[in-house]
Amino acid sequence: MAFSRRKFLLGVGGAVVGLPFFEGLVPKNARGAGAGPQPYALFYRRGNGVQQAVFERNSYPASGWYTPTEPREPERWWPMADASTPIPYGPLATFGPISALNELETYVSKTTVVRGLRHPYGTENGHPEGAAQGLTGAGVLYPADQPNFQNASPLGESLDNLIARQLTPAHPESLYMGVMTQKAGGVSWIRQGGSIFPRSAEENLVNIYNEIFLPYATPDAARQLLVNQRKSVNDLVRADITALRNDPRMSKADQDRLAVHLNAIRETEVALAACIVPPTLQAEVQGYNASSVTATVDVIGKLAALAISCGVRRSVLLNVGVPQDVIQYNEVPGAGAYEFHAISHRQAAENDPTPVAAARDLHHAIDRYHLRRFKSILDLLSQYDLGGGKTLVDLGVNVHFSDLGSGQHIVTQLPYLYVGGADGKLVTGQYVDADKEYLVKFLNTIGAAVGCTNAANAGPLDDFNADNNNYRSKNYTYNYYLSPQPAEPADGKPPIKGRLPALVVA
């Protein structure tokens, strides 16, 4: 009998601790049996902006550029040579010890930090508006066009779902997992016909495991029975929904809603490629400490990495917290006593504005904490060796972002970065000045790099949500942080199109 490294490992009391996730448990010769990994995008979203110098607690400027009335906070997000010396734009050899980005130092050559991105128009009302735009780059829609921070939705889908829809039609929604998101929507949005619908993150990782990986891990007979039973149901349901959709009494919106349902069925159908699931994974998804952000992201990272490596998903979104993140980060020393949102405003609690002196440093510590979590996923992906010095990190693009600039809801200086060049499509190891560029151009660049095309299917993606990405509520009267003010759009025109050339490999 041929030697099986996998069986050998299992035979040692199931003890696999310390072994690399992929190298230890996925024999390379098994990878070829499935679709195998393809260029992908992984998004790590966290809330409340980052601690950067632009923050000022008391300022909501009525007009013009930011006019400080308090001493600036130290700059600890963007690359800094030391406490007072910014690293210039251009090739990056280090993030410097001051910046939170230092947590990614081992990936500096694979990272590009993009500074200066902005949302099309202000979101000073609050977090849901930032979340609505963070992956859509689209305009914001309010009920009856009345600005309302509790009721904001985007006018376009989010990039994670566009990528899934175009690149993995069998799974037209991204693999969207969340940590303490309270099942809230706000970050991921799907387009169906003319309508945009919110999605909520899956937090029950057992469901993810069951949906994607259980059939790999169950005995053949039981798996086949499950497949057959679900097929019998899905066939019946699909026929019923199709008949309903075709009923002439249905409105377009009815049909769109039912189409979302049809897509969901297709998404969850058992469509398995060959993929070896680490035998410990099921126990991990069933037994991790869900009250620990660290433990949860660790398991999410494994599910994401495996889904990508197996080639069953090419778009993954990980979101931590509700759009207004109120997690008490107990794993960050000193931060557990406060909700993160209060920290981001430098105050004691949601409804206690007492200043907290330590909040600035705690925000920075939470920034570092998220980057460490992000790095833990990169470390997993790095274990998958593609040969030639490349790993799974290089095959895709891994984006870390917050959809607000700072805790005070600013919509400029958005902290976006990516690690991995999407199989050579994107430049890496760079610090790029994208001063006042629209976020949607960054999203176009990411989407195009992994293989998405524009609306006419006539070239790489360069018109993401262009039908509405310059829309501003007619009643939105807040001024913007830019001086001079941008020209006021008229019903979304002109659309914002194009990519960021500085990020694209010539």
């Binding site: 909501y60 921070f149 009721n151 929604e173 309270q182 029975l225 809603r257 969850t268 409804n351 206690d352």
Partner: protein, 587 residues
């Protein structure tokens, strides 16, 4: 309609920017809300009134419900909410308790502090929903068929003995109409039986009948005909509308009033032709509202209207300023309002007037202290300090739901009351006065940093730049309405002084007139046609699954008239279910 709610954690921020976002600080302007040009498909916007309203007919309406507008476009498929799904599963499968499976479902949309009701367009089936439905259906079908007694409860007599094939047919013939809430076709029966035959082909162990029924149940529980409320309407159309079929009306009534599927008695009424006439619908609705199950809708509606679910978002108040605040105050305050609503409109058949003018409350010992209730009058507060006791406020000082501590504290800031929040709520949800959008620079303001001796002075100074037609000034509504509550501090305690200065609760609003304090204000509102219309309009939105609340349609008038004549909530609902807005769908 009934919706599952969850804590949003979008609690009102202290910063004035968040206040502005939440309630429209400095919401100036005429309040025009119609803008249907937003380039995105959304059915509800089609209901917005045209810019120029037609001239009202003077003799057959109660102003402001005197406008003739086309009825709103309606959805034809609406997914069950999680709470509806839970109750449906319990009733359909004759379970002893709610299955609880919806804990794995993505949360349904909730109304925020600035919106009422939900939209069909938000009730979709995403991948997460479908995976959860699939899992729940597989588990429930296995649960029911895995226990002989449980299975027996859903089997008709003809399915309990005999040939397997005949038993399966008998089961499907009886079960499917209940699941789909209407008579079914021969093809629908055949399709489902075919799933049972697939089961037999795949599973060789176990009772062949149980094997078939397990797969059949699993399939039916995932059917769109069960998961959606389908309202296609009858064939005849008039003015672009079609009347719902009697079974569709029964379903809409049942989910609207009971939060679950029609029961056998209701279906029997349909079969008997009871719902073919509007008078019949009214009679059936009246009977359903007399059923204890109607408490589900009446309590859920007021939970949404008065934002009760959100109260526990208020975690603390500075104890140096508010020593009476305690950890569980807001959950106690929730119980107070829920019990009060139950007392007023469920047990005692009250209506809008009772809700805004009754001095009844339910308190435990700690909450009684917040209200300043003399515990010696209520011995139970001492003998059972954690139990809730029915009490009565001094009606000269405090009465009506909006003078209970829960709402007052929720619509308050940590230190001072928030006239902006309180006033905006009353404007939007008591008199349905449209508010405009914030002006430039409004987000930079913070009343607590304004100048003035009292909270009123500081708010006035902060919002003064808004000019007429917004917070204050000519045509302003938010501040005057909010200032009427200045007799209550930010946790809802009575007060006569704001620091060293006497409070001022006077105000005047065009739609209401002059008043001095919340009690006189609500005395006026309790007889205000506009306030009654606003309440009825909220019910219409609730029953028809819309977030649009409009007091102007003429068809609202009968409900308004009934409400003005001391009609009960039940009376209002009975009027509303007779309207074309309830009984028809768009084509």
């Amino acid at each position: 309609m009934l919706r599952t709610k969850s804590r949003t954690d979008l609690a009102a921020l202290v910063s004035i920017a968040a206040i502005a976002g939440a309630v429209g600080l400095a919401a100036c302007g005429s309040g025009d809300i119609a803008d249907t040009s937003i380039p995105r498909a959304a059915e509800p916007t089609a209901a917005l009134p045209p810019a120029v309203a037609p001239t009202p007919k003077p003799d057959d309406c109660v102003p402001p419900a005197c406008q003739d507008f086309p009825l709103a476009k309606t959805p034809h498929v609406v997914r069950l909410t999680s709470s509806q799904w839970e109750r449906t599963m319990k009733d359909l499968l004759v379970l002893d308790a709610l299955p609880g499976s919806s804990v794995d479902f993505p949360a349904d949309p909730v109304s925020s502090a600035d919106r009422f009701g939900s939209e069909a367009g938000e009730l979709i089936v995403t991948t997460q929903h479908w995976a959860a439905y699939q899992k729940a259906a597989e588990a429930l079908s296995a649960l029911v068929t895995g226990d002989a007694a449980s299975l027996n409860r859903i089997l008709p007599a003809a399915a309990k003995t005999g040939d397997t094939s005949a038993r399966v047919s008998a089961f499907v013939a009886a079960f499917l109409p209940r699941a789909y809430r209407r008579p079914v076709t021969a093809k629908e029966i055949a399709d489902v039986i075919a799933v049972g035959e697939l089961a037999a082909a795949n599973v060789s162990v176990g009772d062949p009948f149980v094997v078939r029924v397990t797969w059949i149940l699993n399939a039916v529980l995932q059917s769109p005909k069960l998961l959606y409320r389908i309202s296609l309407g009858e064939d005849v159309t008039k003015d672009g509308r079609a009347r719902l079929s009697p079974y569709e009306i029964a379903t809409k009534l049942s989910y609207g009033l009971w939060g679950t599927m029609p029961d056998a008695a209701l279906i029997a009424l349909v079969d008997g032709g009871k719902l073919t006439t509007t008078a019949g619908v009214a009679e059936v609705a009246r009977g359903m509202l007399a059923d204890p199950r109607a408490a589900v809708a009446m309590l859920d509606f007021h939970d949404q209207l008065y934002l009760v679910e959100h109260y526990t978002d208020v975690k603390n108040r500075p104890l140096d300023l508010h020593p009476s605040f305690y950890d569980t105050m807001m959950s106690d305050a929730q119980a107070d309002i829920r019990k009060t609503v139950e007392e007023l409109v469920v047990k005692n058949d009250g209506g809008f007037r009772a809700l805004v003018s009754s001095p009844v409350a339910f308190v435990n010992q700690k909450l009684a202290a917040v209200y300043g209730i003399d515990a010696s009058k209520y011995p139970q507060l001492t003998s059972a300090p954690t139990a809730f006791t029915k009490v009565a406020f001094d009606p000269a000082q405090r009465k009506g739901i909006l003078m209970h501590a829960g709402w007052l504290a929720y619509e308050g800031a940590p230190k001072d009351p928030s006239p902006i929040h309180r006033g905006a709520f009353v404007a939007r949800h008591v008199i349905c006065s449209p508010l405009g959008s914030p002006p430039p620079g409004a987000a930079g303001a913070d009343p607590s940093k304004g100048t003035g001796n009292t909270n009123r002075d500081r708010v006035t100074a902060t919002t003064g730049g808004c000019g007429d037609g917004c917070h204050g000034g000519k045509g302003g509504v938010i501040n005057p309405l909010g200032f009427s509550f200045e007799g209550f501090d930010s946790i809802g305690k009575l007060r006569t002084m704001d620091g060293a200065f006497p409070i001022d609760t006077t105000g005047e609003v065009g739609l209401v007139g002059a008043f001095s304090g919340a009690v006189p204000l609500f005395d006026t509102l309790s007889s205000s046609p506009r306030a009654h219309a606003c309440y009825a309009a909220h019910w219409s939105s609730y029953l028809n699954g819309s977030s649009l609340v409009d007091v102007t349609p003429r068809w609202l008038s009968p409900a308004v008239a009934k409400s003005l004549k001391n009609g009960s909530v039940r009376d209002i609902v009975v009027e509303l279910v007779q309207t074309d807005a309830f009984l028809t769908v768009s084509r």
